[in-house]
Subunit: 464 residues, 2 copies
């Protein structure tokens, strides 16, 4: 007589106005966790979360109906329970339906020192209990969104024939210049010849170099996995461990790269709006009231393209017209956030790719332009946060790459294999990197990268 | 007039007998890498791979037609080229079509010391050049299969509402007992208080403990990511870095767990047969002529369930009947490969779950059965390789878990958070671990785990 059902199934059935298929659907069985339990003696209400849907399910219980009414009245927040009851449609109420309980059993009780009581708790406090915080609304929304956005990434690339490559986490390359690295080791001294790998081993800062090798076999490839930075910086945008999306496309130039970035960003935004509507509505109501408007605008915008040199001209013009910046503007500088914000929000008023940056402020593998001063790089700036994606066409000419590495004082020995890709049927190719956790910050308006990650790792902070 | 097309599009169009939609389709433009180039003076043939399809595309060129015929005749294996030409259907020939070139241009030549010449090369040799081996047939098949199997995993779990959790790579838990661990560090001494995280940090050996915390919020979750073992063992089945799939289901017991494992294995097999037919055919022809038959049989089998105790009885009976094993058989032992093979291939003659192992040979978190001697664990054995998946129902009773940890001489301080999950609305739950790389070995018959991984890491071996 009782049919097991999830809260998601109930909401989807009722919100889509599907007729009840059988009588049995009126009687349901649910399992989940108590978010709140309040009662007025005769009648009580439990807000139940079963993990399948963002919204809770209201359970109504009456003292007279339940055998264990006294026990049920004292079920504490956080407990896991089994409920059987009758489904009642409530079109007039806040929630579209409720379950009138015929039986409620406690499976796992919840101790009094449970840190997630009804009162609102700060994100800082919740970071101390990463094992429990997915049960708090904001994180319950965030981590479902994180799962959905992961699938958006996979589906976008797979639907276009890209091959997913598991680039290595432990790497022998130290010369990538992308940041400070952790070492992976089994010793506690510097006798690296006797370490596990017989030499120094690092945790990867980027899968790009490795994935380039695969682009030379499969044409279109991507990697999506963890990356690391051992930088001792405690900002809201830096974590020691995070996930990166790094596609690489062969027989492609910077224009193709920017087309791909634009397509991917728009696809992901649409995917999230389609597949996480409840969660996005929550972020809009509680975290950032502009978030849906902002990403919808980006989805519907043409992404402008502007050279770095042109951007500097605009900034100089702005200064001449009285706009004040904290930092000096000159050709060759690395743009500051204030400059990116001005270009994006005041000049373009929408998403913009800045391209062709001075070679001295960019990585060694970016393709040198004919002017010999700039490289074929692009940064995607979006209103609200600035840089979201960085990409480039890669240097495919062996001699030019070698000269650039020399110019940047890099040793070539650990990267000879990478250089050799240029000698063995190399071709024009390009790629980019998207910081997955920062993308989540952008979509939701969450202000701290630690609040997008299941178990965030930062300097002197390793919780479990 | 020329339409850019991929080799996959050509094969799919022609093998499905789709009519040419427009005249323009007769003239095509291709880019890719030369696998072989042979010519007899007047006429030449290039086998072209463009990375999109397992089979090559045959390019025919005639000395009289090409402006640069002399250059084309000398294009070396590995070079990247652009081809324009006319599509010619060849129903009588080995390949269903060919491209009669009107122009061939070299984009990137290939030096003479290119290690992948026509002659067949050993897997051992190819492991020395992981940046180039995806271009060799076996690895070209393997790494596309790896990408496809990854999607099979995601699609299986996502279609059932599971939440994908990025469990951390760097962990503070050292007591999981699953094997030797790497440390992640920025120092070269043992002053861990001054290390990056202010304490010892390790590379994860399993995401299970972390993902259990998420199962208590989302009910059904999975993690799919890298895991590490710092074991100094050079076998064909062990790598220092590999990928694991670890689902966890709440309000579920061992039976539910085995149902899930069976569904997943069958789904993945079907997915691979549907989405990688060319690759699987290659493995059947070149690597293991039984592989398709073996996995098809598993897909079509009911997975038997047998207790460990019953298995011991069968083995003792076999010994009484004259069957010889290298290792002694007794209740309480960890089964050896020969025993698993006998149970699976001689007794059951198909896939079988062994269940309810002695507690002393299993992990601390497995649920103690009422007999107090065994735990609710299961290992899936399949014909051909033995153990493929290991799972268990987890101990949800705080006091029983605590006693088991004490019995196994574990310190509880770094795992208090994990134990607390039992105090705060814990519930019956279960999960399992699938070694993703070993699953690839099983599907293809490849004999060495190093040949399923893009850049394999093993003791004293860290290539790039």
């Amino acid at each position: 007589m009782f049919e097991f059902i999830t809260v998601r199934e109930l909401y989807e059935m009722i919100l889509s106005n599907q007729p009840m298929e059988t009588d049995s659907l009126e009687y349901v069985e649910l399992e989940g966790w108590v978010r709140t339990n309040r009662n007025s003696g005769k009648i009580g209400f439990i807000a139940l979360s079963d993990g399948t849907y963002f919204r809770n399910c209201q359970i109504v219980y009456e003292k007279e109906t339940l055998k264990n009414a006294e026990e049920v009245a004292h079920i504490s927040t956080g407990s896991s329970i089994h409920v059987t009851g009758k489904l009642k449609i409530t079109p007039e109420a806040k929630q579209p339906f409720e379950i009138v309980a015929t039986a409620i059993e406690v499976e796992g009780s919840c101790d009094e020192d449970y840190p997630l009581q009804k009162k609102r708790t700060s994100f800082e406090f919740l970071r101390e209990i990463p094992h429990l915080r997915p049960r708090a609304n904001t994180f319950y929304a965030m981590f479902r969104l994180r799962s959905i956005l992961s699938m958006a990434i996979h589906e976008f690339f797979q639907s276009q024939g890209f091959i997913y490559v598991h680039t290595p986490i432990i790497t022998g390359n130290d010369g990538e210049g992308a940041g400070e690295m952790f070492r992976a080791t089994t010793i506690d001294n510097d006798d690296f010849e006797n370490d596990f790998f017989g030499k120094e081993a690092y945790l990867t800062v980027t899968g790009q170099l490795h994935v380039e090798a695969f682009a030379m076999a499969f044409r279109d490839v991507y990697t999506f996995g963890p990356a690391f930075r051992a930088e001792n910086s405690n900002t809201t945008r830096h974590a020691s461990e995070f996930w990166m999306v790094e596609p690489e496309i062969a027989f492609a130039d910077l224009e193709d790269d920017m087309d791909l970035i634009e397509d991917m960003v728009k696809y992901c935004i649409q995917y999230v709006l389609d597949n996480a509507p409840e969660e996005m509505k929550f972020f809009e109501q509680r975290i950032d009231k502009e978030c849906i408007k902002r990403i919808t605008h980006v989805r519907d915008s043409h992404f402008e393209r502007m050279t770095y040199t042109k951007a500097i001209e605009y900034l100089e013009e702005a200064i001449a017209n009285g706009v004040k910046f904290e930092n000096k503007v000159y050709w060759g500088m690395d743009l500051n956030a204030e400059h990116e914000k001005y270009i994006c929000e005041e000049i373009v008023k929408g998403p913009v790719f800045l391209t062709d940056y001075p070679k001295d402020i960019k990585a060694f593998y970016m393709r040198l332009n004919d002017d010999k001063k700039t490289v074929a790089a692009c940064d995607l700036l979006v209103p609200g946060i600035g840089e979201l994606v960085g990409g480039s066409q890669r240097e495919e000419r062996y001699d030019v790459l070698e000269a650039m590495m020399k110019e940047k004082n890099m040793t070539t020995d650990t990267l000879q294999w990478y250089m050799d890709l240029r000698r063995f049927g190399g071709c024009k190719h390009a790629g980019f990197g998207l910081g997955f956790d920062r993308f989540l910050m952008y979509l939701t308006g969450m202000g701290n990268i630690r609040d997008t990650e299941p178990f965030p790792r930062t300097p002197r902070n390793l919780k479990f």
